[in-house]
Subunit: 211 residues, 2 copies
């Protein structure tokens, strides 16, 4: 089993590493970070670089594809090399997945048309332009397409997929080893729960990053 | 404000990237990954590499220090270059922190003697050898020392520290932007909650990784 995680300039680090930490613990799975070119790929703030070990062309038929999001996703929406690769690998993948605004790339590739999907709460309404039905759920499974909400939701998606691929007991073992028993010190993790003025402020700015 | 996150061979990726994703969103913070040498540093499974942009020597007085854990922590326990650096930076840091078995490195450097601290549940008892009082809590603050339990607990630690450094409202904004409203699909994230036979199996193997 091969799991490919896509990188592009100004991706959000946890979008990629959250699912990575779960999925890479599937028995006998090979997990590989892919990008247009091999080498370091910088994240949204520029202070983190993850290495792409293979080019997109090197990895033509992964079993699982993970597309992260982040401020850099915008610049990829008309990147035909990436969109073509997504369409090609989707033809043979078992699971095609995204985190955060990564679902917009799947949508732009035409892979989510007529399906239910989610995205970062600030990007959710953009899915409709591509004929996708947005939902506010944290992890949405529609056929082989699994999309997660913003950033940290990729961990829940990853663990959900570990269960589907390797069974509930293995997923519980992964959860135990990663001590995934979250205790956020605040309760502001969704637009429904956060202080209304913060939600409003971000909707007006329409940006994913704090500056 | 400068935040230094330490990398070493065979670290666990989410130990570093979880707190990174929270702490790097502190206003005007410079976040930097440091290691003995600059360049890519491979994680526990070898399939992920994060770039160390600066050497330890390049970063002599960060305000916040974050030490991740992982299977590679063992090999660092007598690395005097790293332990000396930890003692040096601790002399001027505002916060000295760890995730997972990273607390054993702080303990080996003599920084936690007589203090309460936590670690990965499989490493908790090892803290006592260094005169540290282990606790099963997810995030432990004792003075300026903040230690987190295994792997994913670094996210809770990071967000807790964002609140201490930048205030509750900014921390809530970070939680909202990262949609940190976790919904694990299982409830096996601690030795108290996981199926007893899984806990026992890992205690016998005494390994952090599934193979």
């Amino acid at each position: 089993m091969q799991i490919a995680i896509v990188l592009f300039d100004r991706f959000t680090a946890l979008d990629a590493v959250g699912p990575y930490e779960m999925l890479s613990r599937i028995p006998k799975a090979e997990t590989v970070f892919v990008a247009e070119r091999t080498g370091p790929v910088r994240n949204d703030s520029g202070s983190l670089a993850l290495t792409a070990d293979r080019t997109l062309a090197d990895v033509p038929n992964p079993d699982v594809v993970v597309v992260p999001g982040g401020p850099g996703q915008d610049a990829q929406m008309d990147n035909e090399t990436l969109l073509d690769w997504l369409r090609t690998v989707d033809a043979t993948s078992t699971w095609t997945t995204s985190v955060c605004s990564g679902s917009l790339l799947l949508a732009a590739a035409g892979l989510l048309t007529g399906r239910r999907a989610t995205s970062h709460w600030l990007a959710l309404n953009l899915l409709e332009q591509y004929g996708v039905e947005p939902t506010g759920e944290r992890v949405v499974t529609d056929g082989k397409y699994v999309t997660a909400a913003g950033v940290s939701a990729g961990i829940d998606m990853g663990l959900t997929l570990v269960g589907r691929i390797a069974g509930d007991e293995h997923a519980q073992a992964v959860q135990l080893l990663t001590e995934y028993d979250p205790r956020p010190p605040y309760d502001a993790g969704s637009p429904e729960k956060a202080p209304a003025h913060l939600v409003e402020e971000f909707r007006v700015k329409n940006r994913f990053i704090l500056t």
